[in-house]
Amino acid sequence: MTQAPAPPRSSFGGFDVRIDPWAVEYGAETPTEFQSDAEDASIVDVSVEVEGAAWAPIRPVVVASNQAVSFVDGVRRMEARLVVTREGRVIHGALGSFGVGVVECRDGRAVFGQERRGRLTVFGSGEVPPSPLELAPALVYAPHSVPEEDADAPLKGIHNEMRAVERQLAREHASPGRVVVADGPLAPGETTAGHVVGCVKRLFKLYVPAEQLGVLRALPMAARTPLFLIAGNDRFSRYSWFVRLGPRLSIESDFTGLVRLEVSGTVGKEEAVSLADLMTTLLPRFVPSRTRDPRAPQNLVPIGALEQHLRRGLGDARLIHRRLATRLAQESVNA
């Protein structure tokens, strides 16, 4: 075993950093969702494509399927929860890694594209770790700070960093010839990216009023609902629609197998309709079987493969945890 180089007197300056053994989330690559959907108080207009009263499933005509499409997604992992003490004050912290990548599907081939990785040491309560934490030459955790004081705040900080990188990658990849399917709802920063489609896999909020829910329930396979416009107050307006990707078993809720997609309102209605039709014909191709992915059908095949690929890139969690433990043990001896 190669030993990490002898550490400086302390990696954390005046902070006393310990691992919180109870809070380690084993295999926590897909933990608590930080969806902002639930809190979103927005105005919904269901009559943008057809009159609300005339809502019915839409089955677009299958268009040429050689449309290039990229899928952007990220995974994150908390290596350890940290309990940081400074001058008697207890601060929550976290050590985490995330990976963001893209799968490019075109010309009948799906390939892994660009990949970005981030590793962070996050302190809450506005405190900033004094220096990057280097556990090994290729294992450096950059300092990061979040203002909140609650215990989940550092994890949320890692999540938000990952989302920011996801958005950036999606923006870079979108072009008139290539649609990017990004994981989760769009964020306000994405107004400029016309060809980024947000794909919401877990429906915390349906947006659609009760009169139209019947259409959602009875939506056939590979069909979509008419578009509706979500005009947020603190957010921005975007066109949205539901697509059924998979069948529903009798034991499952009516909304199983549905995904909600959205594009920025800035693309205009025409473009939004054609993107909606495109996605409705395109996405069912990427639906995994339930044996392949327990999150079928919403977790599309390229996304599932990408997550697996990115997780591999994060390195072995146990090894990293042990390196951290070794480092902290050395520091407590030196202290």
């Binding site: 799968v103 599907c105 075109r106 010309d107 009948g108 081939r109 799906a110 390939v111 892994f112 191709r285 990427f286 079987s289 044996t291 392949r292 095949v301 390229p302 493969a305 990408l306 697996q308 690929h309 591999r312």
Partner: protein
């Protein structure tokens, strides 16, 4: 970093599989390729700075989707919906560790396919003082064998196994002889070294002295790479059994008469040299008292042969002239046989059994013994030329045993009288399972065993070929330094006689094409797959003439 391999890096030692000093896996870099039988090298550096080099041979290559869990992933990938990385890996069986520090190579170390000098090191050719070319790799690098394991210095004999017709066993044995005699491998021994080839099937070997007109430039280049001329054998004589029913000896061959010497033994030679024992070839002959009878009759015949004019082909036994093998049979049918027993307690039934068998044998090989004056000096003289081809393919199996037995016995007697291990004699004998079966008896058993066990010190090297090594006397196969297989039957390939083949090697042996062999030699821990060039000597009549023909050297193998 240790000194980097001189050849381009094709991959890295994998860390997802155990890397050990004797075998390891290599991940092949994208855009590169590694195939079976490639020789590779990697180096690792010890903590004291010493560099250890591992040479090895690729025996498994595989590709797979990395991290793929479902069989249907292949369809998803082909659809363009599932992205997947292809992992291309090669398993390496280590042939040499230099210096001999048996640490494992490090995962992530660079691996190269070796060429030229490193190739020679990987197969220990740099340690062999005297070598002989025995073939080419599929990529055209020459492969050598250590001559010291063929000429008796440290070992002798080759055992060649394979299915008839596709394994090209005799062709390969002939090629090795060609390589021995037409390179400077033998050095000073070359002048007196001899080869005795028994032609068991067809008449392929009757054209060794003629250049092959169907040789193409590609094959010529192969001979050149091996350091061999591309021509016929330089010094050959052909002997074929005399034709039945002809007093004037004539070779009993179909495709070639010219230059083929007929062979026949005179009655006097037969008696004087005690050849009667080689007439009795059935397993049952070894039982009961028949050997005693044979021995007594031989004594009587030898005595008779010492009398009279030694230049006379016939002999007179007890006042009866014996001028042919049937005369001899007639004589022994009479009370003469009882007299020869000289009071030994032999049952009448035994004598009758002896007579019965003698009658049977007379039909099959009687024509090889003649009392005619023309038959004189028609025995096989293998001392006058380098290579002597003895055709026995037209003979009945028991007559074949007679010829092979007589020749080998005489050769061993002569070598024993001479003493010492020179001059060298190479004997090529196909269908060894018939002459020295593992189970059952053969009159040649003891002669062949003698060659296998003592031949080394007498300078006799046996190139034995057989369909199935498992049916040949264990000690004969076991004594062979060079173990060769051509195409093997699948069931045969599993037998312990082929323990020198790896699991993969056994499977490959069942797929070998004509012209490809797997060769194991004592100094290389791994059997090497090689091919040998199309013969530069003719193997049938139409190759002698200058007719143009297709380039496929093995087309006649009908594969």
């Amino acid at each position: 970093m240790p000194d980097s391999p001189s050849s381009p890096v094709v991959g890295l030692v994998l860390g997802s599989q155990d890397a050990t000093p004797l075998e390891f896996w290599v991940g092949v870099r994208e855009g590169e390729h590694v195939q079976l039988d490639d020789l590779v090298v990697t180096r690792t550096t010890l903590s004291d700075g010493q560099s250890v080099t591992f040479y090895g041979i690729v025996d498994i290559v595989r590709k797979r989707f990395e991290g793929s869990q479902f069989d249907t992933d292949a369809f998803r990938v082909a659809d363009g919906t599932l992205p997947a990385d292809v992992s291309y890996a090669a398993h390496v069986q280590v042939t040499r560790v230099e210096p001999e520090v048996f640490v494992p190579p490090g995962p992530g170390e660079a691996v190269s396919v070796v060429r030229d000098e490193e190739f020679r090191r990987a197969l220990y050719f740099d340690r062999m003082e005297r070598t002989v070319a025995i073939g080419l790799t599929r990529t055209g690098e020459p492969i050598h064998a250590n001559l010291e394991f063929l000429d008796g210095t440290r070992g002798a004999h080759a055992s060649i196994s394979g299915v008839s017709g596709v394994a090209t066993k005799t062709s390969y044995a002939t090629f090795i002889l060609y390589s021995l005699f037409h390179s400077d491998a033998l050095g000073l021994d070359a002048a007196n070294a001899k080869a005795l080839i028994f032609n068991v099937k067809g008449e392929d070997l009757l054209w060794l002295d003629k250049p092959n007109s169907k040789l193409n430039d590609e094959t010529r280049a192969e001979y050149q790479r091996l350091g061999l001329p591309d021509g016929p054998f330089q010094s050959v004589a052909f002997f074929a059994p005399t034709r039945k029913g002809s007093d004037t000896p004539m070779p009993d061959t179909g495709s070639r008469q010219e230059g083929v010497h007929p062979y026949v033994w005179t009655v006097r030679e037969f008696c004087r040299e005690r050849l009667l024992r080689f007439v009795f070839v059935d397993g049952e002959d070894a039982r009961a008292q028949i050997p005693l009878v044979i021995s007594r009759v031989e004594q009587a015949l030898e005595r008779a042969a010492r009398d009279g004019d030694q230049s006379d082909a016939s002999v007179v036994i007890d006042g009866t002239p014996v001028a042919s093998f049937s005369d001899l049979v007639d004589l022994l049918d009479s009370t003469a046989l009882d007299n020869m027993m000289g009071g030994a307690p032999v049952a009448g039934g035994t004598l009758d059994a002896f007579r019965r068998r003698l009658h049977g044998a007379a039909e099959r090989m009687g024509h090889l013994v003649s009392g005619h004056s023309q038959a004189r000096n028609r025995t096989i003289d293998w001392s006058a030329q380098q290579v002597t081809v003895v055709d026995i393919h037209s003979l009945h199996a028991s007559a074949q045993l007679f010829v092979v037995g007589v020749l080998l016995k005489r050769m061993m007697d002569q070598k024993e009288r001479q003493g010492g291990s020179r001059p060298l004699v190479f004997v090529v004998l196909d269908e060894l399972n018939k002459y020295a079966p593992r189970e059952g008896w053969s009159p040649l058993h003891s002669v062949l065993l003698d060659i296998a066990e003592r031949g080394r010190s007498l300078g006799v090297s046996l190139f034995g070929a057989q369909q199935t090594a498992s049916e040949v006397e264990r000690r004969i196969v076991g004594n062979a330094a060079l173990k060769v297989v051509g195409r093997l039957d699948a069931a045969e390939a599993e037998r312990s006689e082929y323990g020198f083949l790896t699991r993969v090697g056994r499977v490959r042996a069942t797929l070998l094409r004509p012209g490809s062999m797997i060769v194991a030699q004592p100094e290389i821990p791994m059997a090497i797959l090689l091919r040998f060039p199309f013969p530069s000597w003719a193997t049938r009549k139409d190759e002698v003439s200058t007719s143009a023909a297709g380039p496929d050297p093995f087309a006649r193998m009908n594969l």
